[in-house]
Amino acid sequence: MAKQITIDAKGVHYTPLNQQIRKAIDDGADEIVINNVLGQRFIGNGLRGNAVIRVNGVAGGDLAMFMSGPTVIVHGNAEHAPGNTMDSGKVVIHGSAGDAVAHSMRGGKVFVRGDIGYRGGIHMKQYEDQRPILVVGGSAQTFLGEYMAGGLLLVLALDGVMNAREIGSGIHGGEIVIRGNVDESRLAAGAKKMPLTDEDRARIAPVIREFAADFELDAEPLVNADYTRIVPASARPFAGKYTWE
Amino acid sequence: MCGIFGVMDRRRQMMDGSGIRQALSMMNERGSGEGAGYVAYGIYPEYQDCYALHVFFDRACENKAAVDATLEQWGVIEHDEAIPTCDQPNLRVNCTPWRYFFKPDASLAPGSASPEKDIITDLVMQINASVNGAEVVSSGKNVGVFKASGWPEDVADYYRIEDYEGYIWLAHNRYATASPELWGKPDPFNLHDWSVVENGKITTYGANRRYIESFGYNCSTGTDSEVITYLIDLLVRKHGLDIDLAIRALAPPYWEEIDRMPEAKQRLNQALRFAYGSATMNGPFTIVAANPEMMVGFTDRGKLRPMVVGECGDRLYIASEEAAIRAMEPNVESITRPGAGTPVIGRVAP
């Protein structure tokens, strides 16, 4: 039987809170419910294993930074940079999140039902079988996928049109997929639009279905919708800038 | 290169200055005749609630008004007068020693744990840092520094120190290396409670000075004893260290000794070196320091300078040479020479 441990975070500083979470995992908890979270940073920071951590409240900055394995589900919003430099595991945010979501994420998934701020997916990168996935249900802001070096960044724009500009600035790996058409003028230098092939659709379909399941959405209309795929114009966006002495 | 001497009576029995004059002059081979000084605790019983400020005026007629005005801003001058002196043929007088008996207004340092001493500290720093022809040479209650350029006997006779009676006396016989003419240069150095005499020269003056100045102290004389006085005041009064730990911070054990200590002691000594690394003093020194409750002596950890300790009844003596102790107390009962890292701490009975 799954072992559940509940922690009341009301007024608790993040260091003792993280110590309680680590102790719960050491005690064999499969599921940890943290109530009354209000801005505590670093929840799930550097955690290993496969526990599920439910955060009720507003998660503070660097949620699940360096995390390697567990699943963090936030019933509420998250601040700056959830999934920062994450290795594996999953972050599910039922609300919205701040800037630099999934910064430098190398593996695992970050699902945000609402909107994300500026520079979402910045410098996401992939390595061998590690391929990070960031899915945004709502909208994303400017500099989406800046410096992106790998992985998949999917924006479903469920709540209206996305206004991001300078998309894929400096992108040199991975792909950005956005539901609907994205005007060429919103792309940054170094990024280019490609049609979404059937192969591409087959690749993203399981991601869309998983996202839809997590947020109780009807998956199939999303799987079959029109998408714009944005990829690097070159794997060496800066190579042409330099000459040697 | 200097000679130092300290004596304390544990039961506050008074000693007049004649014995100390004799003791200090026994060490004239260590001096150069260009500076000597004495400090005594317990000399102003009639003004014991006032801070006695001994001030050297370059020209009393020009410089005194500014000091009066500054003091009056910070409290009340109960009494002031020229320090009685008696001209000596071998002493070239170049300033006027004056004394104030001053009560600082504690309400002007709100929130301080020791408001009067904070005010006195600020006043001393302020007067000594500005070019106003005035230098405060001592500033404690019931204590006074008497110093000048010259041989110990001449300085003692100039101030007529045999007329003063104290229960702790420190004295310094200077071997001058710079500014032999300045009367403020010889030890003792004093700031309210604490007085310091040093034999030696620290090689860490720059590091120690920068450390102490970051706490608001202002080193205006350039002497070791000034920095040492401020360090002791900071560590004991402001940081609440007991004197033995303060001395340990200033002259700590070597890391290899610390490595061999039991764990709790090791941690404490490591913490002292961590916190007070910039206060650590290197180079040759023996220091004798006093406040109204105690007299302490300690050396650098390499034991480069001598320290002789004598005991006789209620009297504790610390000196550069045994002869000085025996000059004052021919019947001294014990003579020891403590090693580096073993401070001598004598306390006055409560």
Partner: protein, 505 residues
């Protein structure tokens, strides 16, 4: 693209004394730049490829090879120097930013060389380090500013102040951050072994930690740079300390760039990026856009590693250095490494390398002064880096306020590097700045580690002697002790900034 500029005059000319030469071919084998080749039984020379790496000279058994710099120069001109003219030719031809290897070549006065150390004569005695202890042991990390001590009724003393983790160094010399990728694994291995032998630490650089270095992980300072290459919780836990690279002296304000061709299979594994892909380190950390974000990153790293390791931050020395350092000192960082404008690099834009930043001497002095002024000196240790060339530089840096130094180029030179400045070509003939297996194999890590350890040991001895002569028997008494320095032919303004008196004063 065609140009009418043509070729530049030779930078170096290689000649072979044919009478001495015995055609053994060691020069052909050793030169990785393609200067020598066989033409039948004769060795031909293409001087244009020469970098002055000296590998051929070193290995010629007959001393038959001669190298001449600038055999044919331009008309000499004090303003239109050779370098200025050739940069113009280069950019006229390419229209690009010029990249260059190693540290600044700007011919500016070196402040260290104008600072003289003190010694004792008669007013204080020198200490003889052969007979009496002179302590170089250095702790890097936060120190308490005051202690809470409880004296119990039985007279026992108890310390209630909790000390935060510090790194303990036997000597104030550390090996600076040079990444795997920029240098070879054998070079990193050599330094790791030297660090272990001499009781100090080395930086990993931003290229992750190769598995072969795991045995030395307790001597490694693992670096997190803006690219986050090779950074995961395992990496952080392996390090003895963690360093956030916020800037680099050779190229302040800009990021870094390891070209795909240097990302070999092994390099790709430690950096955790695909083989052959560019490794781009952005200029800022994208989770630090304001100073208040820095404590977030610092605390995040500390949370992830259970508050067991000191966290360092490295910055380039720039105009508002003192302000930067004071800001970092409030962020929870335990030590700040300041990299002066002469700091080394595998490759940097020439215009940055030679024109941006301030000297390390000034940066350390102003940082120490500002931290003391703000009551923050115990919050951080200061590490000076960027052109520390000899033991005297170490002593002077410490007297100006540093706790320790990082050496980079000096350690490479100890392994054979001739400072030819062609690291970017990736064919370092000494096996240092290359990933080519045949070249890497030239550097025997056992031999090279002994050389690096010898250097650290020799400098340590010299520093001990310098301190003893100054009558100082513990390194913390030298730290910030500017009274033991004097400026020789430095202007008054600079002396005031350094808080050092002139010689004679």
């Amino acid at each position: 693209m065609n140009s009418n500029i043509g070729s530049m005059p030779l930078r170096y000319r290689i000649t072979i004394d044919r009478e001495q030469c015995m055609e053994c071919g060691r020069c052909v084998e050793n030169c990785s730049y393609g200067v020598f080749r066989w033409d039948g039984d004769r060795i031909l020379i293409n001087s244009r490829n020469c970098t002055a790496c000296h590998r051929c000279l070193t290995y010629c058994p007959r001393d038959a090879i001669m190298l001449e710099e600038h055999p044919c120069d331009y008309r000499s001109h004090p303003v239109w120097t050779r370098q200025v003219r050739e940069s113009i030719y280069n950019q006229a031809r390419t229209g690009k930013i010029i990249l260059a290897g190693m540290g600044s070549v700007a011919d500016l006065p070196i402040i260290f060389d104008h600072l003289m150390l003190d010694a004792c004569q008669v007013t204080t005695p020198p200490t003889d380090p052969l007979r009496e202890p002179v302590e170089l042991r250095t702790y890097l990390g936060k120190k308490p500013s005051k202690l809470d001590i409880v004296r119990k009724p039985d007279g026992d003393i108890e310390l209630s102040t909790k000390l935060t983790p510090n790194l303990m160094l036997e000597t104030p010399i550390m090996l600076g951050h040079m990444s795997y990728g920029a240098i070879s694994l054998n070079a990193q291995l050599a330094m790791a072994r030297a660090a272990k032998e001499t009781g100090t630490y080395m930086g990993t650089g931003e290229g992750g930690l190769h598995t072969d270095l795991y045995p030395y992980q307790d001597r490694m300072i693992v670096q997190i740079a803006s690219g986050r290459f090779g950074v995961n919780v395992d990496y952080l836990e392996r390090g003895a300390a963690i360093e956030l690279k916020l800037g680099q002296g050779a190229k302040p304000g800009i990021g870094g760039h390891l070209p795909g061709e240097k990302v070999s299979a092994h390099v790709s594994r430690t950096r955790m990026i695909p083989e052959g892909s560019d490794a781009i380190s952005p200029a800022p950390h994208h989770d630090v856009y304001g100073i208040e974000d820095l404590p977030q990153l610092v605390n995040s790293v500390k949370e992830a590693t259970g508050w067991k390791k000191p966290v360092f931050a490295k910055i380039a020395a720039v105009n508002n250095n003192a302000e930067n350092v004071a800001a970092i000192a409030r962020s929870g960082v335990d030590a700040v490494a300041i990299d002066g404008f002469r700091g080394g690099t595998g490759a940097a834009p020439r215009v940055f390398r030679d024109h941006v930043g301030i000297p390390i001497e000034v940066a350390i002095a102003t940082a120490d002064k500002e931290l003391r002024k703000q009551g923050l000196r115990n919050e951080v240790s200061l590490i000076a880096c960027g052109s520390i060339r000899e033991s005297a530089d170490v002593a002077k840096a410490i007297a100006l306020g540093a706790d320790a130094v990082y050496i980079g180029t000096a350690a490479l030179v100890a392994m054979g590097c001739r400072v030819c400045g062609n690291c970017y070509q990736g064919v370092c003939s000494w096996g240092i700045a290359t990933q080519r297996p045949n070249l890497v194999a030239r550097l025997d890590p056992d031999v090279a580690s002994k050389q690096v350890a010898n250097l650290i040991h020799a400098w340590t001895l010299e520093i001990t002697e310098l301190m003893g002569a100054a009558g100082i028997n513990s390194i913390e008494s030298l730290r910030g002790n500017r009274d033991r320095l004097r400026g020789y032919m430095l202007d008054e303004g600079l002396l005031e900034i350094l808080d050092v008196k002139s010689v004679g004063a």
